[in-house]
């Protein structure tokens, strides 16, 4: 809807934005290039997914849409298990990587399908060493998408936030809103390969995605921490709630006026991270600063400011030229609680270069204790191309989003920002090995959860 008082310029801006928003992030089909740069000209029809693509006559479109709805309804089962799905080929890991891959959680959850705003219409449980899809899980009715995922880190337990999107009017504009939300615990049985989806009795408001900024399942799988901004209790500042999934008990920490526990977009990146002893790391970010604090969740709840301590602080002027500037969405606490792991870059001018690393900090002193996978690129680092997804107890083995070494595919655009093709890989001080079949995406909201 457009208000009658709007100028032609405003109408045009609103209409073009609305049209553009119908294309969700990450929804571009794969690029199909011809056999070689000198190859013959291909017709457009040949290129769509490698098969002939025909436009439907306009008159048939509503029928096709209706048929699609019927098909969707017919197949909409809460949990579908797909053993060895046809068409999906599992990648075999190279033999010398097998021992490395064996150190990782055996299964992970990948988001799949495109909901109205780019959310996952379903998730897949995959085998880490091969990428093979072992089970497909769809949100139970009335939910239509899975908006966010968190993993315990053991490869067996995950928490999914299911949501139902509806299009509604707000201030004269049509927009998408969540009208129902629910946390579900997903347990994957390694013997039967059957995923068990259980609704968690945690009350959530309809507009949860506006204020819930991240959640994390504890390594034991027994506690769920949820971050809110603004705080639901104080209406200003930040809030963290910790739910005991066995007893239903809840503890709440609030910080009126505290900085947001969010990385620009709610649900993007891991703003919360657990250690086995109940310590919870949380990130507070603004446009020009980032801080990491540690909260002891063994206490009764109360003041988030008083019960937490500042460990890492990236604030001040000329921040991007400081050594080891934080560049990742995720900041992970090792399960041992001794280290914090994140991706960092040290930028130098003339010539413009970025030294990229995965940096580990001592939680006791806040000092750098180890750097892994350091490499240098010409130009500025790009967003979403380097991050950390999982760490073992000591931080010696990481799952990362990174550039595959040895491939000459880093380019620098006219704006001096580099681009490369990120791969999800396992990283140790000695080795870097891509994880076979792991989905690759730059969107931190769609990274797989281990």
């Amino acid at each position: 809807m457009i208000s009658p008082g709007m100028s032609t310029e405003e109408r045009l801006r609103a209409a073009t934005r609305a049209a553009a928003d119908t294309v969700p992030p990450g929804s571009a089909p794969p690029l199909r290039l011809p056999a070689g740069p000198e190859g013959r000209r291909f017709s457009r029809a040949r290129f769509q997914g490698g098969r002939l693509r025909r436009r439907r006559p306009a008159a048939l479109t509503p029928l096709a849409a209706a048929a699609a709805v019927i098909v969707v309804l017919a197949v909409a089962v809460a949990v579908a298990v797909a053993h060895g799905q046809p068409g999906h080929r599992a990648a075999a890991p190279p033999r010398h990587h097998e021992s490395l891959l064996a150190q990782l959680p055996p299964y992970y959850v990948a988001q799949a399908g495109d909901g109205p705003l780019g959310d996952a219409t379903h998730v897949q449980v995959r085998a880490t060493p091969t990428g093979k899809v072992l089970a497909t899980v769809r949100p139970p009715r009335p939910y239509t998408v899975f908006s966010q995922v968190s993993a315990a880190g053991d490869g067996h337990e995950f928490v999914l936030l299911a949501s139902r999107w509806e299009k509604r009017l707000r201030s004269g504009y049509e927009d998408w809103f969540t009208t129902a939300n629910k946390f579900f615990l997903l347990r994957f049985d390694p013997h039967t390969h059957v995923p068990l989806l259980t609704a968690l009795p945690i009350p959530l408001p309809p507009n949860v995605l506006g204020t819930e900024t991240g959640f994390a399942l504890s390594p034991s799988g027994l506690k769920l921490a949820v971050a809110w901004y603004p705080s639901r209790r104080s209406r200003t500042g930040a809030e963290i709630q910790v739910f005991n999934l066995v007893t239903g008990a809840v503890k709440t920490w609030t910080w009126p006026g505290g900085r947001p526990i969010v990385i620009r977009i709610p649900g993007a990146g891991q703003v919360l991270s657990w250690a086995e002893d109940g310590t919870l790391a949380f990130q507070q970010r603004t446009e020009s600063s980032a801080q990491v604090r540690l909260l002891d969740t063994n206490g009764p709840g109360g003041s988030l400011q008083a019960d937490s301590r500042l460990v890492l602080d990236w604030t001040g002027t000329d921040l991007q030229y400081r050594p080891n500037n934080l560049i990742s969405f995720n900041v992970l606490l090792t399960p041992s609680g001794s280290r914090i792991v994140c991706a960092t870059a040290t930028i130098t001018k003339d010539p413009l270069t970025s030294v990229m690393s995965f940096t580990e900090y001592s939680t006791r002193t806040g000092r750098v204790v180890r750097q892994l996978g350091t490499w240098t690129l010409h130009g500025l680092w790009p967003e979403g191309n380097q991050d950390v997804l999982w760490t073992n107890a000591s931080g010696s083995t990481l799952i990362v989003v990174d550039r595959q070494p040895g491939l000459r595919h880093v380019t620098v655009s006219g704006g001096d920002t580099a681009f490369w093709h990120p791969v999800i890989s396992v990283l140790t001080p000695e080795k870097f090995a891509p994880i076979p079949g792991a989905p690759s995406t730059r969107s931190p909201q769609r990274w797989p959860a281990w």
């Binding site: 073009t16 119908t22 436009r55 479109t61």
Partner: protein, 186 residues
């Protein structure tokens, strides 16, 4: 697989223009970074997601075929954006030609994607429909100015016309668009 130590300092430069494999990688990286933005631009121009994807796909294939002839690979994005706009122009012209031969009317071209229309409000659809009735140059100038928020010099560079012409084209296009919207509302 090499160790991480071997990463430092290696392979950080731009792709080798002569190597097809590197051209493929460079074009693929560019596609993965900018495809959604360009599909959105083409959807604004065409109102049809499938046609928009076709146009962008073709633009990147064109870039790949001409990769070795690019004087400055840093301008690849500008090239592919211009190719996308050209592709949209051709697509809209084909629709008009088809209509003259007794095919669906240009306005029905919007209906070619009923799913797209269903996602937009009626009034947004009205504005976009009017936009697609404008002459090529006016339509492109308005989209670059009010959707991509490009400055006049940037639009001039994209369209290969002078900044003065951009100003007059935008002004005339906006006036024509206002008239078309008004007519459609009556």
């Amino acid at each position: 697989m090499g160790t991480r130590a071997s990463r430092t300092g290696s392979g950080a430069g731009p792709p080798d223009d002569e190597a097809p494999a590197d051209a493929a990688r460079a074009v693929t990286v560019l596609y993965e970074t900018h495809a959604v933005g360009l599909i959105r631009l083409a959807v604004v121009m065409l109102g049809d997601r499938a046609a928009a994807e076709d146009v962008v796909q073709e633009a990147f294939c064109g870039l790949y075929r001409r990769w070795g002839q690019l004087a400055d690979p840093g301008k690849a994005l500008s090239y592919v954006r211009a190719a996308t706009l050209n592709g949209c122009r051709s697509d809209l012209r084909q629709r008009i030609r088809a209509q003259r031969r007794g095919g669906p009317a240009p306005d029905a071209a919007d209906a070619a994607s009923a799913e797209q229309a269903a996602l937009l409000g009626e009034e947004h659809q009205q504005v976009l429909s009017a936009l697609r009735r404008l002459p090529d140059r006016q339509r492109e100038a308005l989209v670059l100015r009010f959707y991509l928020d490009q400055t006049e010099p940037e639009i001039a560079a994209s369209m290969g016309i002078s900044p003065g012409t951009v100003k007059s084209t935008t002004s005339r296009g906006l006036a024509a668009l206002g008239r078309l919207i008004q007519e459609a509302g009556q």
